[in-house]
C-alpha cells in the first residue's frame, strides 16, 4: 500500500516537472528553432536530441504524422538507450502541429535516481514506523498498567480473596477512571446480593431441619410408644419396627443432605488443630466392632504426626466415611491399610482396601450423590459425596484408584503445610 502511494506521489511530481518543461519548450518554439533541431526536414526519422550530461534527462523532437483526436500528452515508463547507456525513463510524449507539420515531442526524466530515492524514502518510513511502534508499545505497557491498577486491585481484593460473602471488603477502591469506580460499585452490589442469597439459604437449611425433623421426631416417638403396647400381634410389631427403621433412614438422609449443604454453604469453622494420627486411632476404636463382625483386619501404618487447621468434626466424618466405605465394600477377612507420607512438601494419607474394586464407569460417579457401587449393597451413597464436600472445604484433593477384585485406594492430598 505504502510503496504504491510513494510511487504515485513521485510519478505525479515527475509528470508535473515534465509538463512544465514541455510548456517552456512549446512557448519558446519557432520555426527557426525547429529547423535548428531538425536539420533535415525531409527525413522524418531525423530527430533533434538534447541530453543532459548525466543522462538523467533528454528531449527528442521528431516529425510525426498528424494524428487527429490523438490524446496530446501521454506518460509512460520505458527503457531508452541514450549515448550507449540504457536507463529507465519517465517519458512525456506530446504531439503537436506547427506550421502545418506534425511533430512528436518526447521529454524523459531518468527513473534510476528516482528509484534510489523512493528506496530511501521507503526505508526511512519503515524506520519511523518501527520507532513509533516501539514507543506506542512501551507507552501502552506502562500507561495501561497504571490505568488498570485499580482493575487488578479489584480482582485481587474483591474477587479472588473472597471465599464467603460475609468477609467481603466493601471499602471503595481508589481509581482515577470513572469506569473502575463503577465496576467496583457494581461488584459491591453483586456481593450484597450473593450475601443475601447465602443468608437465605442458611435460613432455609435451618427451616428445613426444623420443619422436617420435628414431624419425624413425632412419628418416631409415636411408633416407639406404640411398640410397647402388649396387645400388638407379631405382624403389627414387625411392621412398626420396620417403620422405625425406614424413619431412621429418612432422618439420616435429611441429616446427610443438610450436612452437605451446610459444608457447601461454609457454615463450619476451620480453626481447630487436627492430628490425623489421633483421628485414625479414634476411628479404629469406634469401628472395631464392625470390622470384627466381618473379620476385617485394620492395619494402621501411619508414621507422621501431621497437624493442620480445619474442622475436627468434619475431618472425622471424612475419614470415617472412607473407612466405613472400605469396610462395606471389602471381602470378608479382607484388609484395610491406612498409610501416610510426603511427596515433596505435600502430605498424603491413603485408605486402601482389599475389596471388590470398581471399574472406570463406577469410579466416575462415586462422588455424586445417591450413587452406589453395586446394586445389591445397601447404603444411600451419600458418604463419598460428603467426603468430597469436606475435602473441598479443607482444600484437600481426593484421588481414587481401583482394580476390580483387588481393591480401592482413596488418597487424600493435603496442601503444603505453612
Amino acid at each position: 500500500m505504502l510503496p504504491i502511494l510513494v510511487q504515485n506521489v513521485v510519478y505525479h511530481h515527475i509528470n508535473n516537472s515534465l509538463l512544465e518543461k514541455k510548456k517552456k519548450f512549446i512557448e519558446h518554439l519557432n520555426q527557426e528553432e525547429i529547423n535548428d533541431f531538425i536539420e533535415n526536414p525531409d527525413d522524418s526519422t531525423e530527430t533533434f536530441s538534447e541530453f543532459s550530461t548525466l543522462h538523467n534527462e533528454f528531449l527528442v523532437l521528431s516529425h510525426a504524422p498528424i494524428k487527429p483526436r490523438h490524446k496530446n500528452s501521454t506518460f509512460s515508463n520505458d527503457y531508452r538507450k541514450i549515448e550507449g547507456e540504457e536507463n529507465e525513463y519517465r517519458i512525456l510524449e506530446h504531439h503537436f502541429v506547427y506550421g502545418g507539420q506534425g511533430y512528436k515531442l518526447e521529454i524523459g526524466s531518468s527513473l534510476s535516481e528516482v528509484n534510489d530515492l523512493t528506496f530511501v524514502i521507503r526505508f526511512f518510513i519503515l524506520i519511523v514506523f518501527v520507532v513509533i511502534l516501539l514507543i506506542t508499545f512501551l507507552a501502552d505497557t506502562f500507561y495501561i498498567e497504571y490505568l488498570l491498577k485499580p482493575f487488578y486491585k479489584i480482582i485481587d481484593t474483591k474477587i479472588r480473596r473472597v471465599n464467603e460473602p460475609e468477609t467481603f471488603d466493601h471499602t471503595p477502591i481508589k481509581a482515577a477512571s470513572r469506569d473502575f469506580r463503577e465496576l467496583d460499585f457494581v461488584l459491591n452490589q453483586m456481593m450484597d446480593r450473593i450475601a443475601e442469597v447465602f443468608k437465605k439459604e442458611k435460613q432455609f437449611i435451618s427451616n428445613v431441619s426444623h420443619e422436617l425433623l420435628t414431624p419425624i421426631a413425632l412419628l418416631k416417638n409415636k411408633l416407639e410408644n406404640l411398640l410397647q403396647n402388649e396387645s400388638l400381634d407379631d405382624n403389627a410389631f414387625d411392621k412398626i419396627a420396620g417403620s422405625l427403621k425406614t424413619l431412621d433412614m429418612l432422618k439420616k438422609i435429611i441429616n446427610n443432605l443438610l450436612l452437605i449443604s451446610r459444608i457447601d454453604n461454609n457454615q463450619y469453622e476451620a480453626n481447630e488443630e487436627i492430628n490425623l494420627k489421633e483421628i485414625v486411632s479414634d476411628l479404629q476404636e469406634d469401628l472395631q466392632d464392625r470390622m470384627d463382625d466381618r473379620e476385617i483386619h485394620f492395619i494402621n501404618k501411619i508414621e507422621n504426626s501431621f497437624v493442620f487447621l480445619g474442622n475436627k468434626t468434619l475431618i472425622h466424618i471424612l475419614i470415617y466415611n472412607l473407612v466405613t466405605n472400605a469396610i462395606k465394600y471389602n471381602k470378608p477377612e479382607g484388609n484395610i491399610i491406612i498409610e501416610d507420607g510426603f511427596v515433596g512438601e505435600h502430605y498424603f494419607i491413603k485408605v486402601k482396601d482389599s475389596g471388590i474394586g470398581m471399574d472406570e464407569s463406577q469410579l466416575e460417579k462415586i462422588f455424586s450423590r445417591f450413587a452406589r457401587i453395586s446394586s445389591d449393597q445397601e447404603g444411600q451413597g451419600l458418604g463419598l459425596a460428603i467426603a468430597q464436600s469436606v475435602a473441598a472445604f479443607h482444600h484437600i484433593e481426593i484421588k481414587v484408584e481401583s482394580v476390580i477384585n483387588e481393591g480401592t485406594t482413596f488418597t487424600l492430598w493435603f496442601q503444603k503445610a505453612n
Binding site: 426444623h210 416407639e224 419396627a241 443438610l258 451446610r262 463382625d293 466405613t324
Partner: protein, 224 residues
Amino acid sequence: MNILIVEDNRELAVEVYDFLCNAGYICKIAHTCADALEEFNSNDYDAMLLDLGLPDGDGFEVLQTVRKTKSKMAVIVLTARGELDDRINGLHLGADDYLTKPFALTELSARLFAVIRRIHGFTLNNLTIHGFVLQLQDYKVSCNEQPINLTKKEFDIFQYLVLNKNRVITRLQLTEHIWGDILEVNSDSNFIDVHVRNLRKKLDKHAPIDWFETVRNVGYRINE
C-alpha cells in the same frame, strides 16, 4: 421428679409426656416461651426439656432467663440439627445436655437420668435389677457381692436397658446410644448383638436371666 416439657408441637409434647409419665416422672407441658417462664416461676422443676423453635421466641431466651436465677434445674435442649451453629453453643449457654431431633424416647430417659443424677450431687450410685447391682460411678456390676467383669460397652448396654426396663429397646436405639448418631444410612446394626450375647453370657453365670428377653428380631427388653 418434676419435668417441664417446653415444646410447641402439641402432639410431640404429648408423646414425650406419656412416655415420661409411664417412666414415673411428673410432667407438665408448656407450648410457648411465656408459658414456660410462668410455669418455671410458679412451680419447682427438676428438669426442663426445651425446644428451641418456639412460636413467641427463641428457646435460648428461656434458657438465659432460667440461668440468671438461682434455680438448679437441669435443662436438656431439644433441637433439630442445623438450628445450632455448633453443639458446644448450647452447652455454653447453660444447657446440661442436648438431643437432636428426632431422638429416641429411651435415649431421652437415659440422658434425663444422667443430668438429674448430676444435679443431685451423684447421691444415687446404684441401680439394681433382679439381684444385679450396677455401680454407676465406676461402671462395675456385681451379683451377690461377686464382681462381674464387663466391658464399657456391655456396661452401657446393660445400664441403658435397666434404665428403660419393661420397654422394648430396638437394635437401632441401642446402636445409636452406644456409637452415637451415626450418619451412615442403613448402617448394619447387627454387631450390637455380639455385645449383647457376651453380656448375657456373663450375667447368666451368676443367676438365671429369663427377665433379659430378646424380642423377636427387633430388640431387647429387661423386665422388672
